[in-house]
Symmetry: C2
Subunit: 265 residues, 2 copies
DNA sequence: CACTATTTGTCCGTATGTATG
DNA sequence: TCATACATACGGACAAATAGT
């Protein structure tokens, strides 16, 4: 895998369930978005790519054609394959607070679709997160957040029944959950967030307007009140092309030997 | 897509390049890891899954067989398909500092593989991140971080040439870059991190020991020194099953109307 | 005990997609 | 473009193991 000079050779494998032409297509697309192939530059020829990945010229040709269909490149006989990728829209960023920035400034609006709203016994994950009994009733909601019509986040929330009763279904479709919790008398003190990556399954993919198995940023959050009781468990799936999570860290000098980092505003 | 009761129906599509049996396999595997299908429970039968996803029984069968090959389920004729999924190893977590926790406590070791180490002109991303000229020379390194032999992160770093000269290739294979920077007289003041999700391409997939198109957590960081000059640009790709990014937030009461959140140690 | 329904295992024939030379 | 090989997916049919009536 690693060659003598320390460089890594890209590999495709016909043992994977994904067709070869699509594997190569993904690699090349990545390099275009990545700016490895700059805007206007020429991609390697069919013959070259065929040799690079050890496939036939027809397979390489098909990969390049898929790129052309996507509008990422333009192919001309005798001229080659040229990158025409337009710079992607700068994605939204969320700061540590998890709130959206630059939103008002951009004159854009986020709207919320409330897909599900019910009271039910929680799943295993929610049980352990909220530290409730297996047969406790919790309020569960599923929402889609949209920016200018395009969905960018899929949110599943679990709230203990007592707290959930302090607001209505309609409130949830218009107001953020954190605001609703405070309005209901809950004093939010601290929260725990975990960030990971997942794939879009067949359920969320159409809702977020992405392909099945597209990558998603997954943020899991448990919010605690002043009595250290979990009042909210939320799982958010975010489209990485629209939404990024930004964190500003600055060094804090303390008496201890260890220095620590904390976010700056 | 969304039915009358607000529930969403899972879908597979034969227009995707991925085979149907593998799409279904991914969905079911996700539900097992997700605990939607609890340990010991019976999965829907071949006939049921075939109807659910609108495929033939043979295709549904193959998806279930793949799960059995993975050891996630056990199949017995006349009995059904039973979940045998062992609870996954609790993944490592990094706190805000980006350093690993619980590592010493677990008696585990991380080792580093240095794959590439050279001085070259940076790509476009690195140029804008380090705010350097197009033809400046930067030090570039590619490393793999392993825990107990299994790789969990792929790190690409860019450091301005002057700073990069303060340590050797061998240093990088044993010491963290932040430590090396400080040893070289750089006083690190603040950093900017962006978290997103991507797919494993054909290059990193074998290096990280995951399938191509597996989801990865992507962390991009620019580190600045006291003079507000970028001294390090790092792109990290992390296996979400082994590595998670944890963030502890606590509310800080300020004089302003807005309340803010900051991480607690 | 037989009878039945369910579920998985195996086989066939056919059509389409993928990949090669 | 053509011929060839293999993988994918379908529908149908039948056998074998299990569980309940």
């Amino acid at each position: 895998m690693v060659e003598g000079d320390g460089r890594v050779k890209p590999m495709v494998s016909d043992r994977l369930p994904t067709p070869l032409y699509h594997q190569i297509y993904l690699i090349l697309r990545h390099k275009i978005i990545d700016h490895t192939y700059r805007d206007g530059a020429l991609l390697p020829s069919e013959k070259e790519t065929a040799e690079t990945y050890g496939v036939s010229r027809i397979t390489a040709k098909r990969a390049l054609n898929e790129l052309a269909v996507d509008g990422l490149v333009v192919r001309e006989r005798g001229r080659g394959t040229k990158v025409t990728h337009q710079e992607a829209i700068t994605p939204l960023t969320a700061n540590v607070e998890g709130m959206l920035e630059n939103l008002m400034a951009m004159g854009l609006e986020t709207e919320i679709d409330l897909l599900e709203f019910d009271y039910a016994t929680p799943g295993l994950d929610a049980v352990s997160a909220l530290a409730c009994a297996d047969d406790d009733v919790v309020q569960r909601s599923v929402r889609i957040r949209k920016l200018d019509g395009t969905p960018f986040s899929y949110l599943v929330t679990y709230v203990p029944e007592v707290i959930g009763k302090t607001y209505t279904r309609e409130d949830l479709a218009t107001t953020t959950l954190l605001t609703l919790l405070e309005r209901g008398g809950v004093e939010v003190l601290h929260a725990e967030q975990t960030l990971t990556a997942t794939l879009a399954d067949a359920i969320v993919a159409p809702l977020l307007g992405v392909e099945v198995n597209a990558p998603l940023l997954r943020i899991e959050r448990v919010v605690y009140d002043q009595a250290d009781r979990a009042v909210e468990y939320i799982i958010g799936l975010y489209r990485p092309d629209i939404y990024k999570y930004r964190l500003n860290l600055s060094r804090v000098q303390s008496d201890e030997k260890e220095t620590s980092w904390s976010p700056t505003r």
